[in-house]
């Protein structure tokens, strides 16, 4: 079998397709990772990077297509088959047990450490590996993981995955490994990756720091919308061409012309420049301000802290100064036991009441009004909220925020899972509300929506790194600012 000239790849994925409900996460992906190769994997949010990682490490079984390790087909083998094939995965969300010691965590990952004296052997192994990957670190390997800083935990997790106990690691997947490491530690890790690859191992590196990808990988795969769009040796890429490969074809600008006089409107939010940020945050009356950048880089935290600063946890506030539209509905949006109407009216019960008593007729009238305005598809507003589809639930949350007199409306990527028709309806409402003087702060991971904004702040690693205005707002510029490196 293995006598052909080409050695068998460490991992080979063929025509892999994965769908979550109606969403196709991977749409026929072919991917080979060979020994002695550092494969860089890049792509925008939702491109399918994490999904392909989960397929390779055995956590997800593809709905179509095959996956094989070293030429052995692993149909239905799952995590065990992946481990047997020498695949190790350092997860983006840390997966160590904080209540156990580093030595004990090492044992969890390596079942081969058994019998008398396993602690001693594990300690020697992890100590040596930590010193090899991160020279001059001062981590106490007998302490519990909970005492470590987030960077130290990441270092330990990386070192554990490079350890050899019974079988050598053949492929180590590093998913955003440097997101919590500082520059010098990141450089140590990249140096180790290069050594590991030179010695015949292979690495799958996912990072939003293009400098790392370009300096460390031997080959780069660009993913987009669940497909591999480009696979080329690293020498064929520059930072600029890499950004272009990730983005879609730059579309005709649909951006609304900047309204005259918008720059003269009074400021409703004006925050000082946070440490590490390049810009302070400000929003004017009647403005739609976009928060862009890769997901989870501080946009939601910014919205939450803005909301908390402007509303009281102790006294009822009337009229409301600020309203919030949730994106993660089940986390901080809907009240699952309630009817559609109650979920809508909770935003501003004060307007429906006299002396704290809710007037049910006025509540019903409010429901009928917003049912018509946002076209909520239900025969009866007294039906449970969970009887609605996700998109219609989202409309209820919009209506809840817009029915308040709040001057500022915060939106936490609220269009996830909303169909295109609804989106168009909501965009129109937003535009007219903004013209009426309301301010919107809109976090979105969808580029089309960012392009609807008057002004955009781009976030990276929890801080604002760029501000784009009017004509400057484009996918290209947002991507360039989202990925650090020489791209901009």
């Amino acid at each position: 079998m293995n006598n052909s000239l080409e050695p068998q790849p460490v991992v080979a994925a063929r025509g892999v397709r994965v769908a979550f409900g109606a969403v196709t996460a991977l749409d026929g992906v072919d991917l080979d990772i060979r020994a002695g190769e550092a494969l860089g994997l890049v792509g925008h949010n939702g491109a399918g990077k994490s999904t392909i990682v989960n397929v390779i490490n055995g956590g997800l079984t593809p709905h179509q297509g095959t996956i094989s390790y070293g030429g052995v087909d692993a149909a239905g083998g799952g995590v065990a088959a992946a481990r047997a094939g020498g695949v190790r995965c350092v997860f983006q969300e840390l997966s160590l047990c904080p209540n156990l010691t580093i030595v004990e965590n090492t044992r969890l990952m390596h079942q081969g450490l058994t019998g008398f004296g396993w602690r001693k052997r594990a300690l020697t192994l992890i100590r040596a590996k930590l010193d090899e990957v991160f020279p001059a670190n001062r981590i106490d390997c007998t302490g519990t993981v909970g005492e470590l800083s987030i960077a130290e935990r990441q270092m330990v997790e990386i070192a554990i995955n490079f350890i050899e106990v019974t079988e050598a690691p053949r492929l180590v997947i590093l998913d955003e490994p440097t997101s919590s490491l500082d520059a010098s530690l990141a450089e140590q890790l990249m140096a180790h990756v290069r050594r590991f690859v030179a010695a015949g191992g292979s690495v799958l590196l996912i990072s939003h720091i293009l400098g790392e990808i370009l300096s460390t990988s031997t080959r780069i795969v660009v993913m987009k919308d669940g497909k591999v769009v480009v696979t080329k040796p690293v020498a064929d890429f520059t930072a600029k061409s890499l950004v272009e490969a990730m983005g879609s074809v730059i579309k005709e600008k649909t951006h609304a012309a900047t309204r005259t006089g918008a720059n003269a409107a009074p400021l409703v939010v004006d925050l000082p420049v946070a440490p590490g940020s390049a810009f302070g945050f400000a929003a004017r009356k009647g403005e739609i301000v976009g928060l862009a950048g890769l997901g989870g880089h501080g946009q939601t935290d910014m919205l939450l802290s803005l909301y908390r600063a402007r509303s009281s946890n102790w006294r009822p506030q009337r009229p409301e100064e600020i309203a919030f539209v949730a994106g993660d509905r089940s986390l901080n949006g809907t009240f699952p036991l309630w009817s559609i109407l109650r979920n809508l009216s909770i935003g501003d019960l004060g307007a429906l009441s006299r002396l704290f008593a809710i007037d049910r007729d006025r509540e019903d009238a409010l429901g009928a009004d917003w049912k018509a305005k946002t076209a909520i598809r239900t025969p009866d507003m007294h039906n449970p909220i969970l009887s609605l589809s996700g998109g219609n639930q989202q409309k209820v949350l919009f209506a809840r925020a817009l029915s308040t007199p709040a001057a500022i409306v915060l939106m936490d990527d609220p269009m996830r899972g909303v169909d295109i028709g609804t989106k168009q309806d909501v965009y129109a409402i937003l535009r007219s509300e903004a013209e009426a003087g309301r301010t919107f702060v809109w976090y979105s991971t969808e580029m089309d929506e960012i392009c609807l904004c008057d002004r955009v702040y781009v976030f990276r690693d929890g801080v604002i790194v760029a501000e784009l205005k009017g004509e400057e707002i484009s996918e290209e510029h947002v991507l360039a600012a989202s990925f650090s490196g020489e791209a901009a």
């Binding site: 939450l304 909301y307 509303s311 009281s312 946890n313 102790w314 006294r315 009822p316 506030q317 409301e320 600020i322 309203a323 919030f324 949730a326 986390l331 901080n332 949006g333 809907t334 009240f335 699952p336 036991l337 309630w338 009817s339 109650r342 909770i346 935003g347 501003d348 019960l349 004060g350 009441s353 704290f356 008593a357 809710i358 007294h382 039906n383 449970p384 969970l386 809840r400 308040t404």
Partner: protein, 316 residues
């Protein structure tokens, strides 16, 4: 049958059916002779459970982890101090009531201060508070049993139009709490917090303020119960609140309120309180020994809870 459907879908219906069945079983056994006396006693004792149960229900509505274990100590302290203050003086009946309410307010505020400032889970905070409060009661009681003022004793043991006054007091408090829960903004807020505190905060609800008010309301209701109970039983005793710890929680659960919070009802508190008293009377009437009685009580309660627990998320 269709006309019955809205009634049968109410979560509190099971506690009422159970109470009625138990009443019938007891009355039939005695040939109906004791029916009037039994209903008088039941209404009176159930009313005390209702008062503490209402407060506990509001707290439980706040969601998982919220419970007030200082209820028994609050009953004891408010009964003790109010009677001590009145010193059998008829003119001090109303000021005595205000003292009791003030004690409830102070204990509720202190409970929430512990929960919020020291970040202690409610179950621990209210339990430790109950030790402090109980110690205060012991210290101020000193084994003396002060009688209630004549007028108050007469009121609490008397009847109006054949209905015990205590039951009427419980009914008035129930109507107030029902209005708060079903008709007021406050009721919507506690229900929202019980379903999801994070979502409630992001919908503009003053979560801390609402929770504070709820813990205060619960302690005030317990304090009023203590004031009436001490007057009814001819003086405060240090163990007078003891049985109301589990009782206050049991009537909420049996009454069909969601243990996980967010969905409560007042009628169920009445049904469950009546039922809890009737079960014990019934087993007493049948002449069972103490061991069997406790066991059967437990089994019957489990049966009612199983009957009452239906899938959540019904139409409201």
């Amino acid at each position: 049958m269709n006309a019955l459907k809205p009634v049968l879908s109410k979560p509190w219906i099971w506690s009422w059916l159970a109470a009625l069945a138990t009443f019938a079983a007891t009355a039939l056994f005695t040939g109906g002779a004791s029916a009037f006396g039994l209903s008088q006693a039941t209404l009176t004792f159930a009313a005390f459970s209702v008062m503490v149960g209402l407060g506990q229900m509001l707290v439980i509505t706040l969601g998982p982890g919220n419970v007030d274990l200082s209820v028994p100590a609050t009953i004891t302290l408010s009964g003790t101090l109010a009677l001590k203050f009145m010193e059998t003086e008829g003119s001090l009946v109303l000021p005595g009531l205000l003292i009791a309410i003030g004690i409830g307010f102070a204990i509720g505020a202190a409970n929430y201060a512990l929960i919020k400032l020291l970040r202690i889970p409610p179950i621990i905070a209210t339990l430790s508070m109950s030790f402090l409060v109980q110690s205060l009661a012991i210290w101020s009681n000193r084994g003396l049993r002060i009688k209630p003022p004549e007028a108050l004793a007469a009121f609490t043991t008397g009847t109006t139009g054949g209905v015990p006054n205590i039951a009427l007091a419980g009914l008035v408090l129930s109507v107030i709490v029902w209005w708060l829960l079903e008709r007021s903004i406050y009721g919507r807020w506690i229900s929202a917090i019980g379903q999801s505190p994070f979502a409630a905060r992001m919908a503009g609800i003053p979560v801390d303020g609402t929770r504070f008010v709820t813990y205060v309301l619960c302690a005030v209701l317990a304090a009023v119960c203590g004031y009436l109970l001490a007057s009814f039983s001819g003086g405060a005793a240090l163990n007078m609140g003891a049985e109301y710890l589990l009782m206050s929680i049991a009537v909420v659960v049996i009454g069909g309120s969601a243990v996980a919070g967010g969905n409560s009802n007042v009628p169920g508190i009445w049904g469950a309180s009546l039922f809890m008293f009737l079960v014990v009377s019934m087993l007493n009437t049948y002449g069972f020994g103490a061991g069997i009685r406790l066991m059967l009580t437990g089994l019957i309660i489990i049966a009612v809870i199983v009957a009452a627990s239906r899938p959540a998320g019904g139409k409201r």
